[in-house]
Amino acid sequence: MVRGTNVYGILRAPRAPRTEALVLSAPCSEGNNNNQAVGLLLGLAQYFRSQIHWAKDIIFLVNEHDLIGMQAWLEGYHHTNTTGGDWSPLQGRGGSIQAALSLELSSDVITSLDLVLEGLNGQLPNLDLANLFYAFCQKIGVLCTIQGKLQRNDWDTTSGYSHAAQTMMLMVLKQASGRPWGDHGLFLRYHIEAASIRGINSFRQYKTDTTTIGRLLEGMYRKLNNLLERLHQSYFFYLMPSLSRFVSIGYYMPAFGLLAVILLLRALDLWVQLGASPPGTEDGVAGGVQPSSPGVLSILTPVVISHMTGVALYTLPILSQEMAVQHFPVSETEAVVLTAIAIYTAGLALPHNTHRLLQGEGTEEGWRVLKLVALLYLAVLLGCTALINFSLGFILALSLVPIAAFITPHTPKALSAAIMVLLSPGCTLLYCVFLFQELQETPVSLQDGWMLFLSVISQGILDHALYGSLVYPLLALLIYPCWLLLWNILFWK
């Protein structure tokens, strides 16, 4: 049970109706993590109070427990209750929030400001906000970075290109995780454009002091103050290889589209091979009396069992947490994660047990129909995922499309089984963890990487419970059963 208090103050616009607001927030983290931001916030508040040109109310917010406090404040402000948290009603409100910035400063002098854009479920603020911030930083003369990397000018050389590619890969990995990477991530769900600004103090000679940061923030807020409408003119779906370049959805979606087309072509090929397969298998569900098509039950069984395993993977780790802590010497987090991994691995044993349940053998036609259903299911699932969170959809497509296209019961079993396990969603997550650490220039050993992987799983489950992140339910309830269907096809007898 987590309890906390948020503190906020509203600077009312002196001569305007109180219909719109801007938010400046500083998370009150533990220890020395964010010890300068609140000071700057209060200084800015005092300075803003003496100015008369504000047309929107400005809300200064200090939230406890970072994201949890922010979620509670936003739910209290908008009177929603998406995550089941309990909050006391807010005494004062300021109208609809147009934009928000979250400030993280750990030292009073900085060398650069890092802009963090990725929000919950991979949602990004409007590109206009990022461009606005970068342009203003350049004008003031403060160094601005993205993903912690400074952008280079030699973007047409190989090393410049690889630097930009690394920056973009970092953004892809961060977006795919579905976590909010700053307090701003929770604003995006309420259609409020928000970004986080993090001060970085590295070993550089030229340092910027707090006054300049204050002027920067004042300039940003004056720009946001002058907005006549919400920021919506620029792209909402983009990837940034550097702060001055972006890849829009029109460029990166065809790449994903081509991957999805592979699945559809393979499905078409199977349909033509089948000739006279039963149509409309997506309508009639449940075992009825069907003597004329003996294949239906043998196809339905793997589908139902895979989905039940997915449901088990989703619900059991949390439900059996109590029991696991009592019987085994592990902490609660470890119990949840290890249960999840146990169920995941137990799913690998399924085909051998399913075939004991079914009487008779599956036919040649049987696995073709099952593969057709699995391919179409995977194609629609990946398409929907890519629309909501492109990076997640793309990474899953990269690992699942090759195995989905090539797996048949006739490929060499040992090799195919090894490849399937290596490309399963769990292992993809493991590779992503290692890749992420590599790209951040803090490579980890296998041992540390494994511990990091376990903490990523627990964080995913926690994010789903706390903020409604969709990555864990998607992987457990939909992607994993799909992978299990393909595993069933591999071991079809």
Partner: protein, 435 residues
Amino acid sequence: MAAPLTLLLVVAVTIRAVLFRSSLAELIPERVEVVSPLNAWKRVVEGLALLDLGVSPYAGDVFHETPLIIYFFHFVIDYAEIVFMMADALTAVALYLAVKDYNKTVFRKQKYALEAERYPLDCLELIRTPKEMYYIPLKVAMFYLLNPFTILSCVAKSTCGLNNAVIALFILCTVKGSSLMSAIFLALATYQSIYPLTLFAPALLYLLQRLYIPVNWQRSSFWLFTTQYAFMYLGSLCVMVCLSFFLLSSWDFLSSVYGFILSVPDLTPNIGLFWYFFAEMFEHFRLFFICVFQINVFFYTIPLSIKLKEHPVFLIFMQIAIISIFKSYPTVGDIALYMAFLPAWNHLYRFLRNIFLVSVVLLACSALFPVLWHLWIYAGSANSNFYYAITLLFNVAQILLVSDYFYAYLRREHHLTHGLYLKRKDGSEATLVLK
């Protein structure tokens, strides 16, 4: 066949009961694909509340269902969930019995045609056998009860389920040959929403066929029966309208129900084609386009009746499909009704050309509807164009499905009269093209 049907009903009722008690029961009635301003449960409750306060339920432009529905729910409001589950069960049983009777008729006609040697020798593989037709009624009931669209519509407590029940009972009475009951149920269906008016023609054709009255303009027996049926139908309709007047003591319901359906004032997005057009249209042209869109529903009746006058049950299927696609406020419950008929046309499978594409598009669109709604309304990253694109694609896929079945049906009839392997005049193999 009673035991499998009972098992099916038990399974269907269990699924619906489980969903009614789960957390999805609050989410589903909010979805615009499942409920429309005409048949949302929220609006029925609102109308009942207004009625209890003594105000006309049609005041305030919230409630758009007919007075008979509001009085029906006035008495059974506490058992609403059971009412909707029973409506679904009733629809399934009615469709089961109707298709069973229809299969008997088909088989009898086929037997007479075989004895009269009207089929060419090489199309014997197109003849339907009792073994193949034995499980079709059960499959029809299964396709209706276990269709995710029907389950969603039932859990949302949309009155579309009641409309489907009335239409299914109408089909049952028509197939059994009782013209009075058929007229009464058709009048009730028309009274609920105007579009089943177009089902008058196929019902008339079926009853004429059953009584061996040829469809000939000069024959007096034809006109006699038509007048009888029309009189019964219009009489029942008048009785229902007048009864509604006496229930509520005002004619408000005419403009609130029928005026609402015909003039489409509410432009909430749904899976139909009207909302986007009328959202961006200038007022000056609105009447013209309303007329064009509404005529589109009624327009296909006469040509289809002429082409399919020997096959009225297929005409009923096509007409229900056209109503579900082109009506002003369609929901997935309407689609579920015509999809229930698809197992009855299983024998057409070999002539269907686009079934793979249509199934994939329908599946993908059903999955994309909630995703694009979320991106438009909640994330703000998309806009109405994306949602309407999926709506258009969904409706195009449905139209393709219906026209594909139409092609397959006509092609089979052609083969039955001209032989399966067609030869041109010089003996080479010919292909069939639908002009």
